[in-house]
Structure formats: C-alpha cells, structure tokens
Symmetry: C2
Subunit: 143 residues, 2 copies
C-alpha cells in the first residue's frame, strides 16, 4: 500500500510541489482515494497529502476499518483528521525527517505502524535541503 | 467578527448544507478568508468551515497573529489545523451542541474564547434535530 503513497509523492515532486503522498484504503485493500500535497500546484495550504486522499475518497459513512497510508508522519492537522473521522489505522512511511501526531493517534486507539522506508526518507531529506522555506511554510513554522 | 461566520453558516444552510461558518482574520481585523462547510454542496468531506476559511485565505507565511472565528467548537480535524499552523487565537460561537478540541488548543497556548452565542446555538440545535444522520456523518460518528 505504501507504493501508492510513494507514487503520489513522486508525482507531486515532478509537478514542482512538496513530495508527500497518501492514500486511503478499505480493509479489503480497495483504494478509496489517493492524493498528494498541493500547496504549490493549487496555491492551496489546506491540501496536505492525507487531506487530499481523504477528499478524493468522497463522502464515506464509516472510516473505522479504513487505513490511511502516508509517506510522512502526519502533522497535527492530518492527525486531527484521522482522529475525528475514526480512521482505524495509519501506515507511516517515515517519521525521521518530521514527527507529527502519530504517537498521539496511537494513544487514542489508532493502529499506527511506522516503516522508516528509505524511499520516503530520501524524498523528504532531499526536499528539505533544497527548499527549506517551502517546507517550513507547509508546516507553519516561522524562521 | 462572529457576524461574518454566522453569515457563512446561514449561507451554507440556504444551500442545503451544514450550517457551520468560519472566517480567518489578521490581527488588525482584515478578513483573510471566509467559508462554510461544503460536505453536501461539493460532496467534499474535507471542507469543514474552518478548513474552508483557511483555504480561502491562500498561502500565508505566519499565522501567529491571526484569529480563526467559527460558529461551532472546532472538531479535532480543525483543531489540528489551528495547532499545526500556529493560529494564535480562536473565537468559538458556541460549544454547547458539540465540543471539539478547543480546550486542547487552550492547553497548547492558543487564545480561546467561547461565546455561547444564541444564533449559533439555534442554527445547530435546529439542524441536528432535522438532519441527525448528516450531522453524524460530518463528525465521523457511526450510529
């Protein structure tokens, strides 16, 4: 499932955007929605990868058995999304370059797995080195 | 400032949507963005009132002196937005019909004010009575 999120992250990078991708799956592995960060592409700060995937999945009545897969530890915004909608599981590509709210989600009963996938680490390490100002903007950090 | 959010909530209701409105202001009172819940109108579960107002404000570099005004206590998704982007203050129309993460935000240094405005209470009381299934869908509660 992480492969889909990595494809999304790479697509975002190819578009000149922030290389974070995500996908929402049903419990049987059916892909419900996929997306990537669209801050640069759409000038839209509300479209983080996880919110883009959630949006692409459309209106769902029950998220308890869904899995949110993301290339990077979800920030507080995206962690709040997971908690509010009761998404049952989160698969995190890596939490080395940024650590958001995945521990908080685990404390609140979400099944969280962190993979430390080298593809994901590499995408963000290179991006942060190349475009630090854009990265800090995306997580609301003021120099 | 709450009047703008109430106008947004009423506009959403008139469109057949969920009557929650929000607006993001700069510290000098300049309106940066305004919006309302768009689940019904756009089939978009990611557009809560606060995220819609945040989106409408476009890319901003520093949210520390901004004020998020919302007719209803922000859910975890929208509370996460406020925390991640360092929005400095939240003005809540009411927290009687739904209590989200505003206490958590206050614990993390956000200047939170709850007004218990009767217009806001009335909008949600009537809406929840009329369309409970739609309201529960919007906050991810499964009957």
């Amino acid at each position: 499932m992480l492969d889909v999120a990595v494809e999304e992250a790479r697509a975002g990078l190819a578009e000149g955007g922030i290389p974070i991708g995500a996908a929402l799956f049903a419990s049987d592995g059916t892909l419900l929605g996929r997306g990537h960060n669209r801050r640069v592409q759409d000038g839209d700060p509300s479209m983080h990868a996880e919110t883009a995937a959630f949006r692409a999945a459309g209106r769902q009545r029950d998220y308890r058995k869904t899995v949110m897969v993301t290339t990077l530890s979800p920030c507080w915004y995206c962690s709040g999304l997971v908690r509010q909608f009761g998404i049952g599981a989160v698969l995190v590509g890596e939490a080395r370059t940024f650590c958001g709210g995945h521990d908080w989600l685990a404390e609140h009963g979400v099944d969280v797995t962190v993979l430390e996938d080298e593809r994901c680490v590499g995408l963000m390490t290179d991006f942060i080195a190349a475009r630090p100002e854009l990265w800090f903007e995306d997580i609301g950090e003021v120099p």
